[in-house]
Structure formats: structure tokens, C-alpha cells
């Protein structure tokens, strides 16, 4: 199926950046859990593919309170990190897929075919994460919020954030472990008391919830305010109506958890 695809498998980050170039016509393969089935179903027939698995871009580094996570770090490796990232990562798919899927692949995933993708985007948004990426104008560093719209065009190298004073995560109990998060909310409180909130599954990608943050002192009001920050959609696993009903509940649960961990 991919006989016509030119495959690069770089042995270092530098080689990966060079092979990626300006990103034209190249598909980046992290673990393969998204790209491989898309190719099996012939929805994706890339001219060039960049397989990052052996580029040495995995690992979690800590410098003081700064945590940096390499692009090909497995989602499973985040499971033991504090909330919201740990619980959020544990909520992704199942044990086998978490061990193959990469953080970079998850963050850079396009919007899903039938269900939302990018489970981790919400948690990283809540953490105020910064992305280092390569592409057309060389290597750049920017906030995840700024990066998300460009995520299909750039090569994510790593993502970093300051460990929050407290974190919280609330997702829907999925009846199933096979798919992407139907709806989840992540929250983090930094040392200065700033609260950041973000949702996954309430739009085409993870969404920051600034209105909810502004109203966060009142959990109910915060939850309702969140609705102003999202455009929920219908898909196979939940309707926009349902997401609208439940988003405030999850926001409230996150705010409650953040308070309780104070």
C-alpha cells in the first residue's frame, strides 16, 4: 500500500529536522497508531513519511520545576505524572496503544474522523505548555495555543511546562477504551494561584476555557461560563447537546478537585 511512499527514519533530532524540511507533502509518524490505520484504509497515501521512532526524541527531563517531554515519549510514560497530565494520559485508549502512541503524535493529531482526537491537548493547555517545533522558519518556540493551529504543518520536537501547584482532571467514564476522549476537562493552578482550564472533545482540537477561568471562583458559574468558550459538535459518541450539558459538570468537578488539593 505504501510502496510509493518515500520513507525516512532519522537517527537523531537533527536528521529529523533536516528530513522534515518545510513539511511539504511529508507525513510524520510518531508511534504509528494514527497514521498506519489511515494508510490501511487508503485515506492517507503520503508521498513522503518521516518515522521518528529512532530519532532519539523521547524522554522526560526535569530542570527545577520545568518539565520537558520529547516528541516521541510514549503516552504511557506520562501516566505517573501528577494531574492533570497523569490521569489524562491514563485515560487514552488502552495499555497497548498508550505504550505505542507518542506525545507528539497525540498533540499533532488532526481532527478525528468520527470522534475527537488529541486527548492530551487539553491537559497541556491547562498546564500552559510551550512547544518547540521545526519547520518552514526553522526551530521556533511558542505556546501550545499558538502552535495548535499549525500542528499539521510543523514538526513538534518537545513540549514543556512548569509543574503546577495543583492539577485536576475530569473525563467522561467511557464505556470503552478503544477510542479518543469523548469529553474531558483539565485544570491546573500555578503557584501564584492562577487557574487555567481546558477541554478536550468540545471542538476540533483542545480548547482553552478563558471564560471559565475568569469565573472560576464560583464553580457553578465557571462551569456555565465554559460554554462560551467552546463550539460543541455532534459525532458518533456524543451530541453537541450532551457535551453542552456535561461540560459545566466536568468544569465544576475539576474546580472542586483543584480546591480540595489546596
Amino acid at each position: 500500500m505504501d510502496a510509493a511512499t518515500e520513507v525516512y527514519m532519522p537517527g537523531s533530532e537533527e536528521e529529523a529536522i533536516a528530513a522534515f524540511g518545510d513539511g511539504t507533502d511529508i507525513v510524520v509518524v510518531g508511534g504509528g497508531t494514527i497514521v498506519v490505520p489511515e494508510m490501511s484504509y487508503r485515506r492517507l497515501q503520503p508521498a513522503k513519511a518521516l518515522m521518528l521512532g529512532r530519532a532519539g526524541m523521547a524522554g522526560i527531563r526535569r530542570e527545577g520545576s520545568r518539565v520537558t517531554i520529547g516528541a516521541t515519549t510514549r503516552v504511557a510514560e506520562l501516566a505517573d505524572l501528577p494531574s492533570p497530565l497523569g490521569p489524562c494520559a491514563s485515560n487514552v485508549a488502552d495499555i497497548e496503544i498508550r505504550a505505542q502512541a507518542t506525545v507528539g503524535g497525540n498533540i499533532c493529531a488532526g481532527s478525528g474522523n468520527e470522534a475527537p482526537r488529541g486527548d492530551l491537548q487539553g491537559a497541556f493547555l491547562a498546564l500552559g505548555a510551550t512547544v518547540r517545533s521545526a519547520g518552514a522558519e526553522g526551530v521556533a518556540e511558542e505556546s501550545l495555543e499558538d502552535f495548535l493551529p499549525k500542528r499539521r504543518k510543523r514538526l513538534l520536537l518537545d513540549i514543556s511546562f512548569d509543574e503546577p501547584a495543583a492539577g485536576a482532571f475530569a473525563g467522561l467514564d467511557r464505556p470503552h477504551t478503544h477510542d479518543y476522549t469523548a469529553l474531558a476537562v483539565s485544570g491546573a493552578r500555578s503557584a501564584d494561584g492562577t487557574i487555567r482550564l481546558a477541554a478536550t472533545g468540545a471542538g476540533g482540537s483542545g480548547t482553552r476555557l478563558p471564560s471559565a477561568e475568569a469565573a472560576a471562583a464560583d464553580f457553578e458559574a465557571g462551569g456555565q461560563a465554559a460554554l462560551g468558550d467552546v463550539t460543541p459538535h455532534d459525532d458518533a459518541i456524543a451530541s453537541a447537546w450532551y457535551r453542552t450539558k456535561v461540560l459545566p459538570v466536568l468544569v465544576r468537578r475539576v474546580l472542586t478537585e483543584l480546591k480540595e488539593s489546596a
Binding site: N113, E114, A115, L172, D173, P175, H176, T177, H178, D179, Y180, D234, D235, A236, I237, A238, S239, W241, Y242, K245, V246, V249, R253
Partner: protein, 369 residues
């Protein structure tokens, strides 16, 4: 946030074999020169275990050890007609064909043994691979030797054929629906009690426990019957709260094309499942067996629906009982619109779902008043 627990029950019945019969199954058996038995039947094993069941029936009926019997359902050249594995018929109907073929084999074995032992065949029986004179167990001959004698001494091939067919039951009055013959030969019965928990904020329904009681007629292989009942319970759970091809029915949008968007039950959805098997033999099935494979996914949805009502006071009668339907029902309850309309002796639920509310008069459901 509150979680509410509830309990509900259901009792069901289900026919074994095709609804109006007319569905033949056949089997034939040959015996090798050493007494080993080859069964040929056309019944597909779809996981239900019919290879094992029919092999057990043949071994029991002839009186030879289970591991003497081979079973071949692999193709239509060597195996005779079987209508198929559906309608809970693989044990009840097709098993009967195998049983009849085995009975014929047994008769022939006893005939040959009778000649060899110079005893009337009716005074012989076969136990565990040996032909034994009734009341004189020291007079015996192994089935292997009988088969050898048939092959090399009497010049005979020991075979048996069996065919099972209940005639088609015709509807003789299209007005009343009356039939000329009993349309199914055994009805199985079951009951189910469900215990569930509902999160009234997210609408999630979790099934905690299913306690189920099945009249299985006779369990040819109790473990396999358990397998059918447990597997059916999970399918019924899926039907009750998870699965839907058309999440926006009657709309056709967003039909799920993956296991992640079509919610077949997974391992984490499992409740505790308690099973009670009652053996109340059927007059028509092999060794009293009935077919319980299909009915095994029927009692859970209504038991769950009743349990949801018990937990949160709303009736949800569209399946599956999704989180969204729970929240919508709770909203209606809050708004005071979930109560049935009462007029005189009429108590009318679900009016908004009725054909009367949706069609423009082409079809009505009128109740004699």
C-alpha cells in the same frame, strides 16, 4: 453530584428452532474398522460449540468414549444438509439428527455383536466402548472388535443416518394468525434481575450485577451453556446501554465505523453475572435439551430499563439508554413533562414517540375506548 442505584427485573420466553419449523438437519456416521466413529454434519460452529455438543450426543448415544468420535462439518461434499446455525437450532434440531444417526449405528453394532456373541441384540447394551450382555457383564465384546468383525467378517459397513424435520407450520388464517401445527417445539424461559447505578449529572449508567435464571432443558455441556448465557448477557448489556448503529435515529448521521465509535461492550463494562441453570427437560430435544443461545441477550434490556426507573424515576423506552437519554429524561422529569397523560382509565406514556405524533395520519395507533 449524585449516584443512584436501582434494581429491575424481566422474565422472558423464546422458541427453539425456526419459528415455523420446516428446517431440516441431517447427519451421517460411519464406523471405522477399529470402532472409531466419524460424524459428518453440516452445522457450522460459530463459536456456539456445536461441534462439541454433537460429538457428545453421538458418543453418549452409541456408548463409546468421547475421544473415539471425530466430527466433520467442513464441507458440503461430505456433510449432509443442515439449514444452519441460527434460531437456536444447532443443539435442538441438528443435535437431534446426530442423535438419530447414532441410534442407527448402535442398532447395527448390536446386530453384529449379537451374531458374534450369539445373543439376541435386544439383550445387549453398549457401555464405554464395550458391548455387554445385560445381566451377564462377563459376556462382552469391545466395539472395536465388533467393528472389525463387521468389516472383515461380515463384509458390512456400519453407518447411520439421521434426519430431523418438523413440518412447516402454516398460517391457516391470515386474519387471526392461527397455525395448523405447533410452530416451535420447545420454548425456553429465563428471568433476569439487574442492579445498576446512574450518575445523574453525566447520565452514565453502569451495570453492577445481573442475576439470571435459565431453564435450559438439559445442559449437554454445562460450561458451554454458561458461555452462551454470559456472552449473551454482555450483548444484552450492549443493547441496553451502549450499542447503536444510528446514534441519531431515525437520522443516519454519524454512524460509527470503528470499535471506538460503535460501542460494543468491553471488558471494563462487565458486571458480576450470576447464573442459575434449571434443567427442566424438553420432550423434543436431544436428551431434553433446549436452545438457549439466542434468548441469552433478551432479558437484560428490559431489566435495565426497569432498574433505571427504580434509580431515578424515569422510564426510558428507547434503546440504548445512553447518557444523553438519561439527562433528557431527567430534564423532562424536572419540567414535569415526564408523567404519563391520565384521562379516565387511560394512562398514556411516550406520546411524543408515538406514530400519532409523527405521522401525518397515514398510520395511527388507536386504543379502543
Amino acid at each position: 453530584m449524585a449516584k443512584h442505584r436501582g434494581k429491575g427485573i424481566a422474565a422472558i420466553e423464546y422458541p427453539t428452532g425456526m419459528n415455523q419449523n420446516g428446517d431440516p438437519s441431517q447427519a451421517w456416521i460411519k464406523v471405522k474398522p477399529d470402532g472409531r466413529v466419524d460424524v459428518f454434519a453440516g452445522t457450522a460452529d460459530i463459536g456456539n460449540g456445536s461441534k462439541t455438543i454433537q460429538t457428545q450426543i453421538v458418543a453418549e448415544t452409541i456408548g463409546v468414549p468421547y475421544d473415539w468420535v471425530t466430527y466433520d462439518n467442513s464441507n458440503t461434499d461430505s456433510s449432509p444438509m443442515c439449514t444452519g446455525t441460527f434460531a437456536s437450532r444447532a443443539t435442538f434440531v441438528a443435535g437431534m439428527a446426530a442423535l438419530k444417526a447414532a441410534q442407527e449405528v448402535k442398532v447395527k453394532l448390536l446386530e453384529i455383536a449379537g451374531k458374534e456373541l450369539e445373543i439376541d441384540p435386544s439383550d445387549l447394551e453398549i457401555i464405554d466402548g464395550e458391548v455387554i450382555a445385560k445381566g451377564a457383564p462377563q459376556t462382552k465384546m469391545s466395539v472395536a472388535d465388533v467393528a472389525g468383525a463387521a468389516t472383515f467378517g461380515h463384509g458390512e459397513l456400519i453407518t447411520g443416518t439421521g434426519a430431523q424435520l418438523k413440518p412447516y407450520s402454516t398460517i391457516i388464517d391470515s386474519e387471526s394468525g392461527a397455525v395448523d401445527l405447533p410452530p416451535h417445539s420447545a420454548i425456553s424461559y429465563a428471568s433476569c434481575a439487574a442492579e445498576i447505578e446512574v450518575d445523574d449529572e453525566t447520565g452514565q449508567v453502569r451495570i453492577l450485577r445481573l442475576q439470571q435464571c435459565y431453564d435450559v432443558g438439559r445442559a449437554i455441556n454445562p460450561t458451554q451453556v454458561e458461555g452462551q448465557i454470559e456472552g449473551g448477557a454482555m450483548m444484552g448489556l450492549g443493547l441496553g446501554v451502549l450499542e447503536n448503529c444510528y446514534p441519531y435515529y431515525p437520522g443516519v448521521e454519524h454512524r460509527g465505523g470503528m470499535f471506538g465509535s460503535y460501542l460494543a461492550p468491553g471488558m471494563e463494562d462487565m458486571p458480576q453475572i450470576d447464573t442459575i441453570m434449571i434443567e427442566n427437560p424438553s420432550a423434543d430435544g436431544p436428551y431434553g435439551a433446549k436452545g438457549i443461545g439466542e434468548m441469552a441477550n433478551n432479558p437484560q434490556p428490559p431489566a435495565i430499563a426497569a432498574a433505571v426507573h427504580d434509580a431515578i424515576g424515569v422510564w426510558i423506552t428507547e434503546l440504548p439508554i445512553t447518557p444523553e437519554r438519561v439527562l433528557r429524561a431527567l430534564e423532562a422529569k424536572e419540567a414535569g413533562t415526564s408523567e404519563p397523560r391520565r384521562k379516565g382509565k387511560l394512562v398514556v406514556f411516550d406520546e411524543e414517540l408515538s406514530v400519532n405524533a409523527v405521522s401525518s395520519g397515514g398510520m395511527r395507533f388507536e386504543v379502543p375506548a
